[in-house]
């Protein structure tokens, strides 16, 4: 029985996660675009051209200036949280998908470029992970301590924050204490990507990190983190002027 469960977790869950993520993200986006936008509903002042709208959206995306207008401390937190998420994700994705992009990652990527930057990359991502964890704790405290935020916080907000915090803390812990050799993890991801899964390194922290991360990815299309896509949809609607 335990074996069946482990098999499921090691060999099937990653694919189920990927399917869930793709299908429900698309479903969610389609459900948005199926709703008509009968009227124009801008938030003036608006840019005059489509190019101006796009530039405005990108400017906001890079600087987070709307948040800065209200609360500079919170802006600092959110800004660096997104930066660290971006680089951590970039790192994880290149980690996992370098095997897909490059013909033989162990020969080319692992053999030439990676050793040159390995130490730096380790330090850099660990640093970002610590930053992200601290900021998440700050956001959690803000939710608990500030009256106007506390009274509107739902249970799921705490759930999402805690889940993220645990995933990141586990990741940082593995990085700092070198819990598993990186090659082992890479081999497992490579096998998953080539649809020929092998057994992952049997370390409880690594397994837990992977399972929680997958839980998060499954939950992603229904969570508020879906604002990654919604930002552009809403941003475009309100910047389209009526003049």
């Amino acid at each position: 029985m335990a074996n069946v469960l482990l098999d499921f977790l090691y060999f099937y869950l990653p694919y189920i996660t990927a399917l869930f993520f793709i299908i429900f993200s698309i479903y969610r986006l389609i459900s948005w675009f199926r709703v008509p936008m009968v009227i124009k509903w801008p938030l003036s002042p608006t840019p005059k051209t489509n190019r101006g709208i796009a530039a405005d959206i990108v400017k906001e995306l890079v600087t987070f200036r709307t948040i800065y207008k209200t609360d500079d401390v919170y802006w600092l937190a959110i800004f660096f949280l997104h930066i660290s998420f971006f680089f951590i994700l970039l790192h994880v994705v290149t980690f996992i998908f370098s095997s897909l992009l490059l013909p033989d990652p162990f020969l080319i990527f692992r053999g030439t470029i990676y050793p040159l930057i390995e130490d730096w990359l380790t330090v850099w991502t660990t640093f970002l992970g610590i930053i992200a964890a601290i900021i998440l704790i700050f956001i959690l405290l803000r939710r608990i301590l500030v009256k106007e935020v506390r009274e509107i916080t739902l249970l799921r907000d705490y759930f999402e924050l805690l889940l993220l915090l645990i995933i990141i803390t586990l990741g940082v812990y593995m990085r700092i204490f070198n819990v598993i050799p990186i090659e082992e993890a890479l081999k497992y991801f490579y096998s998953l990507a080539t649809l020929n899964p092998i057994k992952p390194p049997e370390n409880p922290i690594f397994i837990l990190h992977c399972i929680l991360a997958q839980l998060y990815i499954i939950y992603f299309p229904f969570s508020r983190c879906f604002h990654i896509f919604g930002y552009f949809v809403n941003g475009w609607i309100v910047r389209k002027g009526i003049k």
């Binding site: 009227i39 938030l43 500030v146 739902l154 799921r156 229904f222 009526i242």
Partner: protein, 443 residues
Amino acid sequence: MKLLSDGYRALSNKPEDYKRAAENIRDLLRKEFKHKYRIIKTSLDLCTRCGLCVSHCFLYETTGEEIYNPLYRINLLRKIIHGKGRGVLGFLNVGDEITPEEIEALAENIYRCNMCRRCSMFCPFRVDNALIVREVRDILSRLNIAPRDLHEYGALRQIKYGAVISMNRAAFLDIVKFMEEEIAEKRGFKIEIPVDKKGAEYLLLNVASDYIRLLEDVMGIIEVLDYLGVDYTLCSEFNDASNYGVFYSDDYLSQIIRGHIEIARKLEVKKILVGECGHATLSLRVFKDIVPEAREYEIISILELTDEYLRRGKLNLDPTKNKELVTYHDPCFLTRIIGLIEEPRRLLRASVQNFIEMEPNRELNYCCGGGGGIAVMYSNNFLEWRMKISGKKKVEQIEKTGADIVATACSNCKRQLKDLVYHYKAKWKVYGVHRLVANALVY
């Protein structure tokens, strides 16, 4: 989630109404939000409850009560739509069966939101509270929950008599005659105000209650148009530009827009010119898209027209004729939706000697406290709420400038500001932008 606790009431519905609404509202909301405006669906999905908007809602700032929190409404709506155990991972949604008390709290909440959209300005995702509020009001109005002042004394009267103030043709013609005499007395020469002239370029629609309460403002518009030689006409039927459907009901909204378009067709005008009013401009400019036959008409605000003439140098103004200190109040709909921000300022700077800005101003300006139809709601003890809670911030803001005249370009704002002057025994006066412009004209 705390429910309504104060003694103010915007609505005068009976408990049975809320009970019936509680049974039907979930299906209606689900259906409506799936098929109506995209921004409502994305807004409800997008809100991350970061709380950045909260401190920018002047109602929350004034009261500090949970029910004025902009997110209170979104949370309550999500709760009503999803319920307990519904949807994927529904157990994470805090929610139960809907109680009549919750419906009452929701109804009171949406009729206290000024729909000013100041919160959206500070939302990173531009979550739109105003349109959500409007749609919920629309759904509740179908369940017979709507304030008497908007529904019975507003939209229904307008459809029946052609004007919210039930002004008939004879009374209107009388007022026009009176205006001609007044202008002749003031200017020293007689002008003719065209009524029901066929084939004119513009059909001028003013808010009908302005003909009673703010006749000088209407006269200002007419003087300016006459000075510029614009080919315009007034109409003797259905001459009320206001449209309370904007605030609460799609059904009445489109009926009234159709009424306006019918008149425009009958008089064979080319464009429709809307007088100084925020929601009237909004109804004809933005919501005309939901009425297919209205799309052919170009809708222009009087501010845009006058400003264009001013920029072309056709308007000869002498600012020394208005010596008092003037400030401008940005009407929310005109500013944050239509985007008429610099037009009134250019007009005022050209026609008054001393102009001072409120802080904050332009698209970040506070609402007068009468937005979203609240300015016309007097029933129960709502006037007191409107004065003590809703309008407090605006009074403080105006007092800080030390201005003698508050100029604005919205009939609703003028009504609320005049009520505020009376309530707080304030010293400033409320003028329409065109009244000041007309006063500065050099013949």
